[in-house]
């Protein structure tokens, strides 16, 4: 039996985290989240009206069933990210924050230095910090040392659907990490999330690939199965790959 995913002492039955951007409507989003089985749902603070009980996104997500994880999407430096996190907590959110610091609007790649700086501040203020980072093993280790709850390396740029293009680095991150590794960004197909889980990642986060699918609800179900498939295969002991063929059946050649 698999152990549940545990982040900062809280356990989750699902290893698929979901983002809420780009859906065509709150109804479509709600159905996709249900189908995904996700228990952690990220939401961009900028999109949420925190003090408005009618806010579409918040009202679509039942916070008794899901951990609503605000992210600092759009923050360009540590200051902005810290400010967003504090706003969220002041509005009554749990003190969990997905930390994103992306100074460049083009590729939305994370800033390693500002991310580390913000993480240090937020951890000290009692936040549970889940930082989005480039697949940089040294940075991952440093974030862990300042007390982040997870490491969230990117597979490829946000929304690119390119899959895991940073495999070597993510392998090292997983090898060295003592907190959960959640592969985030660029995961565009169930095969991509399965691959992440087969490598030993603890979880994955998906948004665009589900939200913009022709049928988001089915796609969410497909990703759910992809995550479970990869995880089960990891636990069941995948074989090594080799260059030579190995016959599935011994070549006794009784015919000759």
């Amino acid at each position: 039996m698999d152990k549940p995913l545990t982040i900062a002492g809280r356990t989750f039955g699902s290893r698929l985290l979901m983002g809420t951007g780009k859906f065509s409507s709150p109804e479509v989003m709600k159905k996709a989240i249900d189908a995904s089985g996700a228990e952690v749902v990220t939401v961009a603070l900028r999109r949420v009206e925190l003090d408005n009980p009618q806010d579409n996104i918040l009202s679509a997500i039942d916070s008794s069933r899901f951990l609503l994880l605000p992210n600092t999407s759009g923050a360009r430096d540590a200051d902005e990210a810290v400010r967003l996190a504090r706003l969220a907590r002041a509005a009554g959110c749990d003190p969990w924050i997905k930390l994103e610091v992306t100074p460049d609007p083009h590729y939305l790649l994370p800033d390693p230095v500002e991310t580390l700086k913000a993480a240090e501040i937020l951890v000290k203020e009692g936040f549970v910090v889940l930082p989005y980072i480039n697949a940089d093993p040294i940075l991952a280790k440093r974030l862990e040392e300042v007390g982040t709850a997870t490491i969230m390396p990117l597979g490829s740029p946000i929304g690119s659907n390119r899959g895991i293009r940073t495999r070597d680095s993510i392998e090292i991150i997983i090898e060295k990490a003592t907190v959960p590794v959640v592969v985030d960004a660029g995961l565009g197909a169930p095969s991509h999330v399965a691959e992440a889980m087969e490598m030993g990642a603890d979880a994955v986060l998906v948004n665009t690939a589900i939200a913009v699918a022709r049928d988001p609800e089915s796609m969410a179900r497909a990703f759910k199965k992809g995550v479970e498939a990869g995880r089960e295969a990891y636990l069941a002991g995948l074989g090594r790959s080799g260059r030579k063929a190995e016959a599935s059946s011994p070549l006794t050649g009784f015919l000759r």
Copy 2:
């Protein structure tokens, strides 16, 4: 709703075909087959004692639930393959045959010319022929033209667990085929089968990766989910991959 996989007029609820080589025991094999949900199970004729009702493999597989698909594994040319196929039919098997002609024992790669030759003969004799081939789009087309029931291109050498290393060719085969395309050989992880299904393959065949796993039953379940995940994603409309990031949430930048 997905249509069922249909091969030569017969429909199957599962798109995962399973091989029976390399299992540590018939019991382990039986549990893995059950967990996989497979409805087509291949068996090497050379390993089966066709006239022996006590044969372990045959008795482990309930032929009312499964299509037992004999393969010509070990045949080095068309003659040997044809001879094996006829033996199977004479012993009372269904006239379905997975055609494998592999003159080289090292990499077990299929011979395109002998495979085509054997396919022609067997189709004329009324066999339902499922040929194992290199990922060669022209050969695939020619086999289809002589009347094979499927095309079974290899992802990578048998037993290598390398996944789909012939992606460009398989894409073309799928684009051009009018019979089901079943990706066979080398599929070593659920992410590999998911990838095949996402590309539009109709089915996959797996053996080694399940049989030699630490826990074959769990691994079979993982592959089942991988196949379903890939198929559902294919039907739900996967997005295109791109180079640039696309923010999951619009960058309104309310903070500034």
Copy 3:
């Protein structure tokens, strides 16, 4: 010191073969061929007026310096290919022929069965046959057995510039071959030809990438260097690649 490339007893100082299609003019082509250092130049029989001494392509290539290698480009089956080859010889060409049988005009992929059939006929008629094939190790072996002078597996579809997308198969072909292996088609950059030579290929053939470059003469020179670089590296003994870092300098840490 490297041995020269030897095909059918004839030696060549260059391991870069060049095609002559798609150039903007015979003058541009001539300069590119000179810059490439190629000694074997392929020409599509269909493009050449064999009995016309003013033919632009033929007159642009000095046949005392180059082996003019006619190809059967456009042939859709063995018959057409054989017919083209005989026409070329009847017109006074050397009995060397690059055998191309491509029934599908879309991807121009070679037909394994017709290619083998044509090769057998042409070898018997005294031709020196250089067959263009899919990267199929068994087919390569069979062609060698009927007496072809080389094996010319494709890296990727003609004109696609995708490089070597059939690496696993080409490695096996090289391992098993006793005639020269010339990687053909899809080689779109010097890094691609260098890679082929580093793998142990005996030569490469390039056309599109040079012909359609902004500056074909410079590009030809670049490919020449790429081939030489890859060949020299192959002979000088490339290291193995590994996963872990190895410090270029021992970590004595005298500073501490």
Copy 4:
């Protein structure tokens, strides 16, 4: 005509930089450097006895022909790196420094935060700083902003010979950079350096692959040609790669 490589106002005729670790003897190293055409030669400060005129490495390299570029290999944080750089200058070296901060001895991956910190200090003290970094586009931009003379992203871990496994990120770094981009680490074959140059990198640095070759002198020559091939191809305008074939010769089909 190509412009020369210019770093911090100094021009270089070669775009191949060479490291000096792992050679079997100073003589072998000297011959390889000569064959490489390199004009910038890195040397680990820890290996050099700066005040000893008999030091083998220093005496093997003619500093009137080469820029001797000391590196801070072995430094685990900014302080150690800064200290090493100052020692080098105090001993009479040029104020150029290849900045390496690698806290983890296993993979020798660079620390983004300490590297930025050391770069800031060293630039202020008048050093010409060439930082070795993970392929992180945001970090690259920040280093450029504090005034480093180049960006040196890794292709893969030092000494791994894996080539460019960070292609997406290096493409972005090249697209955004206003200082020279020198791809460093993991380049194990001429095809790897050619690829870097074809992508538009300004230069590459190679050490292990040359030093540990069976014949380092030939290998150095091979890398020289690989760099030139890639650069020339970049300038001559490489074609785009596509999925479909494009015939090298138009399919007029005169045969039919």
